[in-house]
Amino acid sequence: MTTETTESTAEPVLALSHISKRFGPIVANDDISIALGRGELLALLGENGAGKTTLMSILFGHYTPDAGTVRVDGVELPHGRPRAAIKAGVGMVHQHFSLAPNLTVLENVMTGTEPLWSLRSRKGAARRKLAAIAERFGLSVDPDARLGDLSVGEQQRVEILKALYNDARILILDEPTAVLTNIEAERLFRTLREMARQGLSLIFISHKLDEVMAAADRIVVLRGGRVAAERRAAETNKAELAELMVGHRVTRPTRAPAEPGATVFQASRLTVSSGGVERLKAIDFFLREGETLGIIGVSGNGQTTLSQLMGGLAAPSGGEMRLFGEPVAALDVDDLVQAGVGRIPEDRHRQGAIGEMAIWENAVLERIRQPLFSRRGIVNRSAGQAFAATIIEEFDVRGGTPTSRTRLLSGGNMQKLILGRNLYRRPRILIAAQPTRGLDEGAVAAVHARILEARQAGTAVLLISEDLDEVMGLADRIQAIVKGRLSAPIAAEDADPRRLGLMMSGDWAAGEGNTGEGHPHAS
């Protein structure tokens, strides 16, 4: 199937023809052809591991395809040469940003834009050009800020500016909204639409059907490395897209009423500081067996500290905690694992898994001292590999074997691995921070089903998320987190998007029996 004719008769700005790429036994791209018109905003949709990133990496010259061609304005690009792609006007915003945190914004943007051997960097001129671009598309950032000090949303703006600075006419964004808050995402799409209006051509990758439907002109669905379908946004709907993506109908699981048991964890007036700032201020909450507590909030309001606290990585400076009824001063990572507390960290690349290690090593990491996996300090490899194989099987981790390196898994599959590791032996408490960030519809449904299953079996779940649908679908009680404070809980039955939205913005009158003032004695 060729798609080059589906656009207007005019020459497409970009044409990918018959691209194929395999990694060993894995066929990541299989005879893919896509064309992009001028001023068009194209969405590339597909499950985790469908081959989206691979295709875009080929287009940008990071990977060399086994077959196929890339044409920009009818001119074929040499394979494996990012420089040539940049020259031809292709810009890329990577799924995992490729920026240097220790350098300034301006330095990040300027790298590679001047002849290597010139005697002086023309920083003044660069600064002016950057300011002009920022102005034109409404993408303001401080050029002299150290990149590592910026928020994720700002870093992404730098990535986009970097591409525009190189005079990109074709911009590719790999899951740009996976790391953004809803507000940031809306802002991003306004920018993208504006760019398309000014004649740029854009491709963005996403799992989120809502935003694909809202923003894109045209949608290409990849499945198993092939183009499964192509639709104009106006002619399709979410249900159809979800089905095209996964190959069968997807429905998110529904929640049965909870039957809460004993209280396993209780926090009273808990305060946590880090870096001299109070990140959590006198918060109250408790977790019960067989029940899910959802913490909803726009990211950056203390969620990270909360999951660090629960993961034993931060200690409270005030207040009281009880774990299984016993008062504890701080949670200790080792004790947590022993006591059966499973954790799904927010940053799966940095805290969840070690990319350089094999999948089986990551799978047994937390249990390595259990007699099953090691005896007298000697690791039992075959038991570990067998365990990993079970997780891969049961949690549908695709794209790797127990011995392959974890780094090679696509983002979504890595998350399934972490989830599998934590849920396999039913934990008594599960801390899940943004568990479905970056996951496709099918994977989201699978992860939700697993979390519900664990709760049904009596696990106490703490779900920290900024996704309204997720929290309403999974949680039995909901508290909002705003600027380090927690609202009083409301029952899931009483929650609707509008009310949760108000709670997230700090309007706690929306939460039961709580005044807008919050806790009077916390500073």
């Binding site: 890329m92 240097a100 350098l103 590679g112 290597l116 010139s118 780094r407």
Partner: protein
């Protein structure tokens, strides 16, 4: 107390500081250049030894002093090429490769020396670089004899430090260098080839290390003996951290260490009843203290010691 003041106030001390600092400046800048690109080069100790030997040998066989320096630099670049081949192209452990190069280069130096120079009771010598009095400046009271009566390689090392500070922070090449050491994937995505940058930085850095070694045989002393580098390479590796990977601070760090060293030598003669080993320890102890303070704030190149493989995530 006044004895200590006398030492600090003597022009001789400061002249010695610059002399002692020179090989450290060369070596530290070399290590810094390499590490900025993302590759640790523990071959430094051996490369300095080899540079000391081969530079001396060239001059002993009739080459002029600058040719000797150049031969040393070229030999350093060659060892750099080997290190780059192993660590950049093959992605082998940078520690192991570096230590291997140190062992190999040190032994090879001695081997070649023994093969080509006949055994004698006193080691053969060459005529080293002579101090150059900078016209005008060397006549200044105190400052003149202290700072402006050095040999040319000393002035050169300081010039290179300033040059490197400029290149690293003010030129596209320097930005490409830093980006390769911070995030080679980003460099690649911007059209900079981090592999070539790393090769270049390691080779140029190793050339500087070898020149630091050659300074020992062609300026500080006039003969070669196998143990003469005496851990200076390792000091340089520490100084890079102390300097937080900045050329200007590397210069300062090398001078500071040299000051401690020159100072303890003179202190030994004043305080005769304290065991001299105590004094010998002093520069190292003070360096460790300074390192402990400075290194906490250091910004390590994020990709240091991470091999870069193209087309892998």
């Amino acid at each position: 107390m006044s004895a200590i003041l006398d030492i600090v106030a003597s022009a001789g001390l400061w002249a010695a500081v610059l002399r002692i600092a020179t090989p450290l400046i060369f070596g530290t800048l070399g290590a810094l250049l390499s590490e900025r690109s993302g590759v640790l080069n523990l071959g430094i100790e051996g490369i300095m030894t080899f540079g000391a030997m081969v530079g001396w040998l060239a001059v002993f066989n009739g080459a002029d002093l600058w040719t000797g320096m150049l031969v040393a630099a070229a030999s350093g670049a060659l060892f750099g090429l080997v290190h780059a081949g192993m660590t950049v192209s093959l992605g082998l452990s940078q520690h192991v490769t570096g230590l291997g190069i140190t062992l190999f280069a040190s032994s090879l130096s001695y081997y070649i020396f023994r093969l080509t120079v006949p055994l004698a009771s006193t080691p053969p010598t060459v005529t080293p670089f002579q101090p150059i009095a900078v016209p005008g400046l060397s006549d200044l009271p105190f400052v003149g004899p202290a700072l402006f009566t050095q040999t040319l390689p000393t002035y050169l090392s300081i010039a290179i430090a300033l040059l490197l500070a400029y290149v690293v922070y003010r030129t596209p090449l320097g930005l490409a260098l830093r980006m390769s050491g911070e995030n080679p994937h980003a460099a690649e995505a911007q059209g900079v080839d981090p592999i070539r940058v790393r090769y270049g930085a390691i080779m140029a850095g190793s050339a500087l290390m070898a020149m630091g070694g050659a300074f020992l045989t062609l300026s500080a002393f006039n003969s070669f003996f196998p143990t003469m580098v005496q851990g200076r390479g390792w000091i340089c590796i520490a100084l890079v951290v102390f300097a937080s990977w900045r050329p200007g601070r590397a210069l300062f760090g090398a001078l500071l260490f040299a000051f401690f060293d020159a100072f303890q030598l003179r202190l030994q003669t004043v305080l005769g009843d304290v065991p001299y080993q105590i004094f010998l320890m002093m520069p190292y102890i003070l360096s460790i203290a300074a390192l402990a303070v400075m290194a906490r704030r250091a910004r390590v190149p994020q990709a240091l010691m991470q091999p870069y493989r193209r087309g892998e995530r």
